[in-house]
Subunit: 359 residues, 2 copies
């Protein structure tokens, strides 16, 4: 049994997820503890300012060294709260914060270059915790010709493979992504909660940050004309693999929603998330017997209802039904990926990650 | 015996240094091959645009993935040219390209943060070469309270320690730095070649990039008024440890030189480099019996002559006299640091680096 911590902060910039997992023989997983720590507002704003934007190199470098201090504090607090002695944790996998991702190569200075950039320096985290720390999981995936995302499918495969049933695992974070099991086809389907959340923030002047229990969407009407227009984006038709970044669904994307009422806007954004997920599932070529849903979106009954209605032949389950809290799944995935890295075992086609010895 | 490659690209942005070194028992070093490969002009310009400047995150991420392709090509070419089979190289240490360095903490988003940022992704280099690659040497030094620089003193100590003689090792790169042996006091003394080089570029409209053999300085007159003014910078009096970055000696620094003739400007810049080195040596508190000089500046007889004249009680030697080509020294240092990292041996107070397994 190896005790590993996974630390994740997603593109929604909500905060820091920490999971502590015991990995037993044949990858039997037991999640001992999980916490989410919001980013301080000033940190979140500074992260937004450097994410896929013009900024000063200084801000990137300073955040690269500030974030791991926050990660270490969140980790230490969870250990204390859950009474897990820090010394029993033998490894940390830390995803870091993505500030740029371009899984498809572009022409750059005369070459074809794909790239990804996560900040949150592993040397600081390893020094503050005294625990070997693995970071930078996405780069090796790109190095061997992958797109650097999604990586959670490695855990999906471990958790959800079934001898007879075809399954799709769906994670609805800022962006939504699916993994078909056993085929392993995995890609981002389009927006997850990001457009909904941004609209709620806009219409409530920041007083609310997401559509709690789908209440706003439930009171609104889906504007099908706008929905159909948005669904024309060729991304949704494109064959996988493909990745979507938060930059695709930023402020500009909100513009056509802003003439609607708050409720109609959120209802239409919810429908867009569902419709693009369904389109994504069709692209896998298999109608799954089970759809296993995790991520913040799984807690939105309006979204889940629409989804079930559009997939009448599919049983909709929750990640939680498999003993992994859905909120914890991404953090657990990076604990498992760190474990694979230090054993030099490939995950998704390559040994992923960089190992920082502790100091 | 372990064969290790060291890859270095310095703040002068000249290009990529690759050294292949056999490390034997008790750190006996034998440099098998060394090469310098200039950066393509477009790459150099793009690097300048992202170094300590406002830029788009995309350019940083793309360079982070482009540079290791160039590093791998330079390494493969050297192996071929020197007839070193790639399979005999068991480890690579790659410094990467510094685009930001702030060894002293600053207030940032409510915290005190020191930081450093080298680009040149190790996952790409490890995948292209098939060799485990260590990168990001400076972060752990900062993590344990160091300034992230200089790191070459670790090699200085291995190479130059002497049972009876007090020594100072001096490297004159873009910035100049010294290491006192055996005390280990090490710091940047101030400008190395950078101000001279920038002035030559300016006055020749880029036709010349450095003062070959000190010829321009030899024909000029030192302007003591300007020299004394520049020497008032409190940096030169400050107690070590301290680090100087290329941003301190950028375009703005050149302004007071521009009303002089080219020759007088270069002569005065040469005198500034020498005077600040001598001030630095005085700060170590020991008048060294030997001064061991390496870096591009060691090939500037005007500079070396001034230096010897100002240190009448010190024997001036060259790094080359110790079997390490002075040009190769920094690259060799990062080969040795990578070797220390994978053996989990501290260098300068911490285990330095992040280990990327090959793919």
């Amino acid at each position: 049994m190896t005790r590993v911590a996974g630390i994740m902060s997603g593109t929604s910039l909500d905060g820091i997820d920490v999971a502590i997992v015991d990995i037993g023989p044949r990858y039997k997983l037991k999640v001992l503890a999980f916490s989410t720590t919001p980013y301080p507002k000033a940190v979140r704003n500074t992260l937004l300012a450097v994410s896929n934007a013009n900024c000063h190199t200084a801000d990137i470098a300073r955040l690269h060294f500030l974030l791991p201090e926050l990660y270490a504090e969140a980790f230490n607090a969870l250990c204390k709260q859950a009474r897990v002695p820090i010394k029993t944790v033998s490894l940390i996998g830390c995803h870091g914060q993505t500030i740029f991702h371009e899984g498809d190569p572009v022409r750059f200075v005369g070459r074809s270059v794909a790239s990804t950039l996560q900040i949150g320096n592993g040397a600081i985290l390893a020094a503050r915790t005294g625990i070997p720390t693995v970071t930078d999981f996405r780069s090796a995936h790109i190095a061997v010709g992958g797109k650097g995302a999604p990586l959670v499918p490695h855990l999906d495969h471990l958790l959800f493979r079934h001898p007879r049933r075809t399954r799709v695992s769906l994670n609805i974070g800022g962006v939504a992504n699916i993994t078909a099991i056993p085929s392993g086809i995995a890609f981002d389907t389009g927006p997850g909660n990001m457009v909904m959340d941004n609209l709620v923030r806009h219409f409530t002047n920041g007083r609310q940050t997401f559509d709690r229990d789908g209440g706003l969407a439930a009171r609104g009407h889906i504007q099908h004309r706008l929905l159909n227009l948005l669904l024309r984006d060729p991304y949704y038709r494109r064959q996988p693999p493909k990745t979507a970044g938060r930059e695709q669904y930023g402020q500009e994307f909100l513009t056509p929603f802003l003439s609607l009422s708050c409720e109609d806007a959120v209802a239409t954004a919810t429908a867009l998330t569902v419709a693009t997920i369904v389109k994504g599932i069709r692209l896998t070529g298999v109608e799954p017997q089970d759809l296993i849903v995790g991520g913040g979106g799984a807690q939105n009954p309006q979204l889940m209802g629409l989804l079930a209605a559009q997939l009448p032949n599919t049983r909709v389950l929750l990640t939680n039904d498999f003993g992994i809290d859905s909120d914890a799944k991404e953090a657990v995935a990076f604990a498992v990926l760190a474990y694979e890295c230090v054993h030099l075992r490939p995950a998704l086609g390559a040994v992923l990650g960089a190992i920082y010895p502790p100091n």
